[in-house]
C-alpha cells in the first residue's frame, strides 16, 4: 500500500523510522492552502527602506483556540474570588461566612472548568500530566500549571470544610487562606504567560499585561458575585472590590494603548479588526457597569445589570487580547518596526 501523505512509502518494502515519520497526517496543513496566488504585477514589491518577505508573517500565529481566552476569564474570576474569600475568612465576622462560601463556590467552578478548557485546548489532551513532570521557572505556563493544580484542590477543600467544627474547620480555613494566595497567582500568571512571547504587542506591554489581567479578574469576580448571589451583607464588599477593579481595568487599558502606541504598527490590533472592536466593546461595557454600580440607590436589578456588563466587559477584554495577539503575529512589520525602534533585544541594554 502506498501512503498518500507525501511520504510515498510502500510499507511492505520500507520502514517509517525517520524523525518526522510519526507525524500524524489527515489532511494537508490548512494554512498552506490559504495562499492565493496573485497575478504578476500585484505581488508586494520589495521596498528598500521597509522590506518584508512578500508580506508573509515572520512569526507563527498562536495555535490556541477560544478555550484559552475563556480560561483567562474564568481563572481570573476564580482567583480573585478566592482572594476575596480568604480576606472574608480572615477579617470578616460571622455574618460574612455565607459570602466566603459563595467566593469559594466561584473559585471551585472557575478553576475546575478553566482547567478543563486548558486540557481541551492541548494538541494531545491525554498527555496533560506531562506539565507536572518538571518544574521550570523559565516557563510561565509550567509555573501556571503548578499554580492551577494548587489553587483548584485548595478551593475545593475550603468549600467543603470551611466553617465546620473541630479539625475539619481548621483544615478548611487553612485551605481557604492557601486558596487565596494561589488565587492571586492564578489571576495574574496568565498576564505573565502571554507577555513571555515573541508576539510584538504582548512583548511591548509586558509590564502592564499582568496588571490588566488582575484588575479585570477583580472586576469579573465582583460582577459574578453580584449576578449569582443575593447577599445584602456582601454588597458593600463587591461594590468596593468591583469598582476598584473596573477603574484599574480602564486605567490599565489606556496605559496599554499608550505603551503599545510607542510603535504605531504594534498598537494597530487595538484599533482595527476584530480585536480592535472587542477592545472598544470591553471599554464601553466596563464604563457602563462602573456607572450602574456607583449610582446611589438599593435596586437589585441595577446591581445585577452592573454585574452583567462588568462580566461581559471582562470577557470581551480577554477575547480582544487573544485576537490582538493573532493579528500582531500575522503582521511582519509589527516585529520589524518594533525591533528597529529599539524594543527588541536592544531594550535589555547590552545590544
Amino acid at each position: 500500500m502506498v501512503r498518500t501523505d507525501g511520504r510515498d512509502i510502500d510499507l511492505s518494502l520500507g520502514v517509517l523510522s525517520g524523525e518526522g515519520s510519526h507525524q500524524h497526517v489527515e489532511s494537508v496543513d490548512e494554512r498552506i492552502k490559504q495562499i492565493e496566488p496573485k497575478p504578476w504585477g500585484q505581488m508586494p514589491t520589495l521596498s528598500q527602506h521597509d522590506p518584508t518577505y512578500y508580506d508573509r508573517p515572520m512569526l507563527k500565529e498562536p495555535v490556541w483556540k477560544i478555550d484559552i481566552p475563556v480560561y483567562y476569564f474564568l481563572g481570573g474570576a476564580a482567583g480573585a474570588a478566592l482572594a476575596l474569600g480568604a480576606a472574608a475568612q480572615l477579617l470578616g465576622d460571622k455574618g460574612l461566612q455565607k459570602f466566603g462560601r459563595n467566593c469559594h463556590i466561584i473559585g471551585i467552578i472557575g478553576s475546575t472548568v478553566g482547567g478543563g478548557l486548558l486540557i481541551h485546548d492541548l494538541g494531545r489532551p491525554e498527555r496533560f500530566l506531562n506539565m507536572m513532570r518538571v518544574f521550570r521557572p523559565t516557563s510561565p505556563m509550567n509555573v501556571g500549571a503548578w499554580i492551577l493544580s494548587g489553587a483548584a484542590p485548595l478551593a475545593i477543600a475550603a468549600g467543603l470544610f470551611s466553617n465546620r467544627p473541630g479539625m475539619w474547620g481548621w483544615i478548611g480555613s487553612a485551605a481557604g487562606y492557601g486558596a487565596g494566595v494561589f488565587g492571586l497567582a492564578l489571576a495574574g500568571y496568565t498576564g505573565v504567560l502571554i507577555s513571555n512571547t515573541a508576539i510584538p504587542i504582548y512583548q511591548q506591554v509586558r509590564r502592564l499585561m499582568p496588571v490588566l489581567f488582575l484588575s479585570s479578574a477583580a472586576a469579573s469576580a465582583a460582577s459574578i458575585l453580584d449576578i449569582v448571589f443575593e447577599d445584602p451583607r456582601a454588597h458593600r464588599i463587591t461594590l468596593i472590590f468591583g469598582t476598584a477593579g473596573r477603574l484599574a481595568e480602564l486605567a490599565t487599558g489606556f496605559a496599554i494603548e499608550r505603551e503599545a502606541g510607542k510603535v504605531e504598527q504594534v498598537a494597530r490590533p487595538l484599533k482595527t479588526g476584530v480585536s480592535g472592536a472587542l477592545w472598544r466593546t470591553a471599554e464601553v461595557l466596563t464604563v457602563a457597569s462602573l456607572v450602574l454600580a456607583v449610582v446611589p440607590g438599593k435596586s437589585t436589578a441595577r446591581r445585577k445589570w452592573a454585574g452583567v456588563f462588568g462580566a461581559l466587559g471582562s470577557l470581551a477584554l480577554r477575547l480582544a487580547v487573544h485576537y490582538a495577539g493573532a493579528a500582531s503575529a500575522r503582521d511582519p512589520r509589527a516585529s520589524f518596526r518594533q525591533q528597529r525602534a529599539g524594543f527588541g533585544a536592544a531594550e535589555l541594554g547590552n545590544g
Binding site: Q23, M43, G92, L122, N130, M131, G188, R233
Partner: protein
C-alpha cells in the same frame, strides 16, 4: 561531541531546493500540499511542522554591488531552525519535551510533547509549529539520528554548492568570517554575518545555525533584533506581584468596610 551547527552562505545558494527534498526524504516528513504561491520560485512559503528547510527566493529591484547586469538581483537563502544559544522554545516548554542535546542543538521529544502550543509563540523566528491533525510541535532536529552515527545532516549533505555547511561551531565561525573578508575584497561590501555570535545577536546569544546575508534581515523574513522572550519577563513577574498585593489590599479593605459596626452592607 561539542557544539555543532550550520553556516548557511546565501551568496552561493542557487535555489535548487535539494536541501528541502533531502530533509523531507530523510526525516520522512509528510507533504505540505502542492500550491503555487506566486512568490517567485518559492512554493514552500515558510518553515512549519512538516517543513524543516525552506528556501526563500527574493527578487530585488536593485543589483548586488559586484553584479554586471543592473537594476535587478535574484537572491536565495535556505532557512532552517537556528538552534539558538538562548532558545525561546526550549525555555518556554512546560513539559520539558524540548531539550538541548550533546551537540548543542535544540530537540523536541515528540513522545513527551503534549501540544500546548507555547513554543510556537515563543520562537522569535517563527520556526516551530504545531499541526492540527498531529497535535504536537515539530521542527528541525539538526538530524539528531544522523549526528549520532557521525553523519552530516541531510540538507548539508545534499547541498551541491556548499551553501549549507555543517561542522563544529568554532570552525564554522572562523570559516564564515574568512568568507565575509573575501567577499569584501571582491567588492561585495554588503555581505555580513547574521547571528554568528553573542556579540552580534545578544537577544539569542548567538545562533548555532547562522547565515551570511547581503541585505537587511527583513528581506529574508528574519527579525533584525530578535530576543528570547524569557530574557524580558522578569518585569512582568514584578508587576504581577505588585498588582496581586494591590488586589489583596483592596480585598481586605472591602471586607473591613463591610464588618458589623462599619456602616451598613
Amino acid at each position: 561531541m561539542g557544539a555543532k551547527g550550520f553556516f548557511t552562505d546565501t551568496t552561493i545558494c542557487i535555489g535548487c531546493k535539494a536541501c528541502e527534498v533531502a530533509c523531507k526524504q530523510w526525516n520522512q516528513l509528510p507533504d505540505d500540499g502542492f500550491a503555487l504561491s506566486g512568490m517567485s520560485y518559492d512554493n514552500t512559503v515558510a518553515l512549519g511542522a512538516s517543513t524543516w528547510r525552506h528556501v526563500a527566493f527574493i527578487e530585488r529591484p536593485v543589483p548586488l554591488s559586484n553584479q554586471i547586469a543592473d537594476g535587478f538581483s535574484w537572491i536565495f537563502s535556505s532557512d532552517v531552525c537556528k538552534h539558538c544559544a538562548r532558545a525561546g522554545c526550549l525555555e518556554s516548554c512546560p513539559t520539558g519535551a524540548i531539550v538541548r542535546t550533546e551537540f548543542d542543538s535544540v530537540f523536541v521529544q515528540s513522545d513527551i510533547c503534549n501540544g500546548c502550543g507555547y513554543c510556537v509563540v515563543n520562537c522569535p523566528f517563527g520556526v516551530i509549529d504545531r499541526r492540527e491533525d498531529d497535535g504536537r510541535a515539530w521542527k528541525c532536529t539538526l538530524c539528531y539520528d544522523r549526528l549520532k552515527e557521525d553523519m552530516t545532516p541531510a540538507c548539508a549533505k545534499a547541498c551541491p554548492t556548499a551553501s549549507i555547511q555543517f561542522g563544529d561551531l568554532d570552525e564554522l565561525r572562523q570559516r564564515a568570517h574568512q568568507r565575509v573578508d573575501h567577499l569584501h575584497e571582491l567588492g561585495m561590501n554588503e555581505a555580513y554575518l547574521y547571528g554568528a555570535d553573542k556579540e552580534s545577536q545578544p537577544g539569542t546569544e548567538g545562533l548555532n545555525a547562522f547565515f551570511l546575508l547581503v541585505d537587511k534581515p527583513e528581506v529574508y523574513n528574519l527579525p533584525p533584533d530578535p530576543v528570547a522572550p524569557a530574557k524580558k519577563v522578569k518585569e512582568s513577574w514584578i508587576s504581577m506581584g505588585l498588582a496581586a498585593l494591590g488586589v489583596a489590599a483592596v480585598a481586605f479593605g472591602a471586607v473591613l468596610a463591610a464588618r458589623e459596626g462599619n456602616g451598613h452592607g
